[in-house]
């Protein structure tokens, strides 16, 4: 693949430092083309989320390298890694992970703040709310929103700093079928704007919509 935005080389993640070690990932190699929609499937506990966390710089690998847009994030300092997460990557989690004491609008604005956008230039957050169709819920706290609405706020937050890559860990795993359909529609719309999307899912039907599908089994990866 000529224009890979994500490249993973010999990635290993081992939990535990004593004699009892757990091999979560074993020599993973993968490449994700820029602008593509990729899915990682596999059973629970086989390393999908761990791989996603390492690609997103949420955790550090035991060995191997992850390149995002040509930059080896394994070598980055904690501050640089934070900057990467703020500007280059957007996360969408299964359980939404919105900040409970902030409103829907503020949950997007805080991501902009971490991306270095001054408070008076955070108007774009309102546009993102409009994009996910929840402008009228700007002042609502997460506990005042349905699961589907929370996930759409989460997608808007992921787009706050216009990242190149969106990493989604089971984004519909906690939603009913109607909300799932609604959320996926927004995700496909985001993809159409040229964003690279990597999505972890249990749902094979959703995976079928992806351009690239990787299956992870017992810490090892294979292209489906």
């Amino acid at each position: 693949m000529s224009d890979c935005i994500i490249r993973v080389e010999n990635l290993e993640k081992i939990y535990g430092k004593s004699s009892v070690k757990t091999y979560a990932l074993k020599g993973i190699n993968m490449q994700i083309p820029r602008g593509s929609f990729s899915c990682i499937i596999g059973k629970s506990g086989h390393g999908k989320s761990t791989l996603m966390q390492l690609i997103g710089g949420l955790d550090r690998a035991t060995s191997g390298n992850v390149f995002i847009d040509g930059v080896n994030i394994s070598d980055l300092s904690d501050a640089k890694l934070s900057e990467l997460r703020a500007k280059k990557i957007g996360f969408v989690f299964q359980f939404f992970n919105l900040l409970e004491n902030l409103s829907a609008l503020e949950n997007i604005q805080i991501a902009m703040m971490f991306g270095g956008v001054p408070a008076k230039e955070q108007k774009k957050a309102e546009d993102l709310l409009k994009l996910v169709g929840l402008f009228d819920k700007a002042a609502a706290k997460p506990n005042e929103l349905s699961g589907g609405q929370q996930q759409k706020i989460s997608i808007a937050r992921a787009l706050a700093n216009d990242p190149d890559v969106l990493l989604m860990d089971e984004p519909t795993g906690n939603l009913d079928s109607e909300s799932e359909k609604d959320v996926m529609e927004h995700i496909y719309n985001v993809h159409k704007t040229g964003k690279t999307i990597v999505m972890v899912t249990h749902n094979n039907e959703l995976a079928k919509q992806a351009e690239h599908v990787f299956e992870i089994y017992d810490g090892k990866l294979k292209v489906v």
Binding site: D59, A79, S82, E83, K87, F93, E106, Q109, F114
Partner: protein, 390 residues
């Protein structure tokens, strides 16, 4: 959205804990401010009284204890162990202007308190003392002779006991005297004294030929050593103390008391600081997920650290401000109680709040709370996103 707004949201979303932690630092700061303001007022009052004694130095019995030294400054009664004959010998020294005082206690009915309260009555040489102290009259008349059977009161006594010219006071059982005049305020302990001619006081209190102490002034303080030697050569069993020496002795005692009181306030502050540490540590534990989310969406560890330090700093800032307000209120209520202390009854009760105290109290509170927040903030900033979200 900015860090300050985020901090405000964090604090206000946990109102109960916020208020109780704030209360801790407020109480600590309030006690600190109250004790400092009352203590500083006491120092200022004592200093002012010492310099208003009207002389460059005092002549006292040579075995006068510190308690009695405080009495001279606060206008309290001290024992009368000096012989009037000694006064006459000392008064004869050329270049020395000296006046004697005989100080005793009397009780006056306070209509506000509804009870008899003690005050000091001082026997003086009317003409000499009026000149020495540069007194003016506020109302009524001054003593007409050295043995005028009457009393004159200071304005503080007039106000405290609601007295006026013509009122009668029982100076000692069966000894009634009429108030013939009220002195103009001198902003000294003269304001809180009752005066009568020395010869009359000696008779009333059965202290014929005795005085308590003498105030002296000299034409040239550079010749103090000469006068010191002269006084000792003509009089026995006397000691000479300059106002500065007297003041130094008293301030040393007040300073020790102040340090002790401040140490007590310090303990309250340390307890409040641990309250902040506890609150912030609990917050770090409870907000692991929140910290993890912030880290995951790009929050640097330095920003997380800053958020927690600002949160704890706000406790200090608000606690400091509230502590000053509460401290002033406590001081205002506590000052009259302190004034009720017999030893300090000659001092003007009050509080001393100046810009330095306010700024230093807020600064102190801020520094303590920020220091208290450093460790929890460091713990929070060291959480990795995965560790915090998991």
């Amino acid at each position: 959205m900015n860090v300050l707004k985020l901090v405000a949201r964090n604090l206000l979303s946990r109102k109960g804990r916020f208020l109780f932690t704030l209360l801790g630092i407020t109480i600590g700061m309030a006690s600190f401010v109250a004790l400092m303001s009352i203590g500083q007022n006491m120092r200022n009052e004592v200093t002012a009284q010492a310099y208003s004694l009207g002389g460059n130095f005092v002549i006292v019995p040579d075995d006068l204890c510190v308690f009695n030294q405080i009495g001279i400054i606060t206008g309290d009664a001290i024992s009368e162990r000096l012989d009037f004959a000694e006064f006459e010998k000392i008064a004869a020294i050329e270049g020395l202007d000296v006046i004697p005082h005989l100080t005793r206690r009397m009780m006056i009915y306070n209509p506000t308190a509804g009870a008899q309260q003690p005050t000091t009555v001082t026997g003086i040489l009317p003409a000499e003392t009026k000149t020495f102290r540069n007194w003016d009259m506020y109302a009524g008349e001054y003593f007409s002779s050295q043995d005028h059977e009457a009393i004159i009161i200071g304005q503080g006594i007039m106000n405290r006991f609601d007295l006026g010219v013509g009122d009668e006071l029982e100076v000692r059982r069966g000894e009634m005297f009429t108030v013939v005049g009220i002195l103009a305020s001198t902003s000294s302990n003269d304001d809180t004294n009752v005066f009568m001619p020395l010869s009359v006081a000696q008779r009333v209190f059965d202290r014929e030929g005795s005085v308590s102490y003498m105030s002296a002034t000299v034409d040239d303080m550079a010749r103090f050593d000469y006068f010191y030697a002269s006084i000792h050569s003509v009089a026995n069993n006397v000691n000479v103390a300059t106002n500065e020496q007297l003041l130094g002795a008293v301030l040393t005692i007040i300073g020790s008391v102040n340090v002790t009181l401040q140490a007590v306030a310090g303990v309250a502050l340390i307890a409040a600081a641990f309250g902040i540490i506890n609150t912030m540590m609990t917050a770090v534990y409870e907000r692991r997920r929140e910290i993890g989310i912030m880290r995951a969406i790009g929050g640097r560890s330095s920003v997380i650290f800053r958020i927690f330090v600002i949160e704890s700093g706000l406790y200090g800032l608000l606690g400091g401000i509230l502590g000053i307000v509460v401290g002033i209120i406590v001081s205002v209520f506590a000052a009259p109680i302190i004034q009720g202390d017999e030893m300090l009854m000659g001092l003007e009760a009050g509080v001393n709040i100046d810009a330095v105290l306010i700024v230093s109290a807020i600064g102190f509170s801020l520094v303590i709370s920020i220091l208290s927040g450093l460790f929890p903030a460091w713990k929070a900033s060291k959480l990795t996103p995965v560790e915090a979200i998991s």
